[in-house]
Symmetry: C2
């Protein structure tokens, strides 16, 4: 069968992503091998770290290279199966890549129910939500009454971080770009306050909003957000470094010149990877699903349409156009 794909055509290290970093391609699939399933891809998941992965490609390494299919997680319907107990018609989540049809090896995918939380498995119940959950609860360790600041709060991870912090009885401030994102955070997600970084100086607004300082800062952005927040941390603060989306387009991104304030504040700045918490995923998913079904956790998906728009959809993330988890429906 004939299958459309998007291949990696450029390494965007030190510059913004461009449409021509990808090449449209069409290939002929052979017969399905034993121990694999063939799925028709229905949804693709988008994540800022995908640009980071592209920056590590090399034409010479044995890993991901120019000309490879762009890597991505997604959801698909099984159209052919040579794996026991995985019937045609089942829905799976797995590393489908940017292609209309994907062959997946047993062990690399998970069969999921085709219920109202289907796409949530790429977002709030997938790595996005799990990143928010473990990063906030395990690394940030919020205590009731703590002031929690989230940068990139209207993004997939940030919007979940802020809501979990509210569930933990914290006071939550989010930074986001523009009045509509800020209104969504306060009116629909229950954030206590927001800072529109396009219109306001984060540092000055934090002095007003959190005169006693920030106890937990969950950073998805880097750059000015991180540097400003570091001047406003409270004694014993936990700074959780999760993402640095403001840095992705820059050849030589700045470091946080105010890092030394962690000494005066006896504070900690910590990075983490989701893979450190794998054994606890089921428990985390159980709690996240419970909060969603109880109406305590709002998850919003920004769904673009059409396989031809995959490159443009990834670029959206870096222009701040998305509100909530970025997906593409094929």
């Amino acid at each position: 069968m004939n299958v459309k794909q998007w291949l990696i055509n450029g390494n965007p290290r030190g510059r913004p992503l461009q449409l021509d970093d990808f090449t449209a391609h069409e290939t002929q699939f052979d017969d399905l091998q034993d121990g694999r399933i063939r799925v028709r891809v229905e949804y693709l998941s988008f994540d800022p770290s995908q640009k980071g992965q592209m920056e590590n490609i090399s034409g010479y390494s044995s890993g991901q290279a120019l000309g490879d299919i762009m890597v991505a997680r997604g959801i698909g319907e099984v159209i052919e199966s040579r794996v026991q107990d995985v019937p045609v018609g089942a829905r799976v989540v797995g590393p489908v890549g940017w292609q209309e049809v994907a062959d997946l090896e047993a062990g690399t995918f998970e069969v999921v129910e085709n219920d109202d939380l289907l796409t949530a498995r790429l977002g709030v119940l997938g790595s996005t939500g799990l990143t928010a959950y473990f990063g906030l609860l395990r690394v940030g360790q919020p205590q009731p009454g703590d002031v929690v600041l989230v940068s990139g709060a209207a993004g997939g991870v940030g919007s979940v971080v802020g809501q979990i912090a509210k569930l933990m009885s914290c006071e939550v401030i989010g930074t986001a770009g523009g009045p509509s994102k800020c209104a969504w955070l306060t009116d629909e997600l229950g954030f206590d306050a927001t800072i529109d970084y396009k219109a306001e100086r984060i540092k000055h607004r934090l002095s007003e909003l959190a005169p006693g300082g920030i106890n937990v800062f969950f950073d998805n952005v880097g750059g000015v957000a991180l540097n400003d927040a570091l001047t406003r941390i409270a004694t014993g603060a936990r700074v959780v470094i999760c993402g640095g989306i403001s840095r992705y387009g820059e050849a030589r991104p700045d470091g946080p010149t105010n890092y030394f304030n962690i000494v005066f504040r006896q504070a900690t700045m910590a990075g983490f990877l989701l893979s450190g918490y794998e054994r606890e995923y089921p428990e985390a998913r159980r709690r996240l699903s419970g909060w969603i079904r109880d109406g305590k956790l709002v998850h919003r998906e920004d769904i673009q349409h059409g396989f031809e728009n995959a490159p443009a959809t990834l670029i959206r993330l870096f222009t701040g156009a998305n509100m909530g988890k970025q997906l593409l429906k094929l």
Copy 2:
């Protein structure tokens, strides 16, 4: 009685210290008040944080101001006492400031024995050694076999950090400026390796010396040392931010552009203040004294002479001229 003092004459924020940041002054002391002792100052202690304190002065605040006596800890002999149980002739450690004679209020000083460890109470048994002890053991949490990197390793704090790390069965690498400091670290203090930052690129040497990465980095320096070390940390590394002496002379010092590597390495960067550990000082001093008396901890003092040289002695610290704890004998 007539007493010579050094007053603060300039705020060195964003620039190197200069001799004329201090003014020589002479004042007349009144009769000693009740509840105080009068001491003839014998030794003054010097520390990079003293420049930081000067940078926070303001002519208008009620705190330290231009024209005030320069603050410093020191050792003196009691020449007059109006405090019960503190006899004339006793030795005390306390906040004497830059003056030949100081009046100290009961509760602000400690009576110490006039033994072979007298001056060590300003260094390895004072805040310098305690900073090394708690910063390394509590914040850095070195495990046997860990690779520990110390920047500014020939300084008062760094030289103690490296030796305690050796006592904890770690592999210890120190950065220092120049071959004589490096030789002292390996030949006398037992460091496993050194990097002469004036002659070698820290980043490149670390790849050779610690191919498996740095488990604990104790940073007294900031700047290039911190940024280079961040590219070479191992998974789960602890980066202890203690000092930033390379930053003191700069108007807009850089931040660590490589900070984001703490995400990929699931690492932590933590600041601390000694004051968080006050209740444990006696235990720490007991262990430090034991190591010194057993010959396991070498402490070196760089003793300058003459009260008139106080400003020049502080400036020495920032030119990297000192080896070991910087003191001035009056």
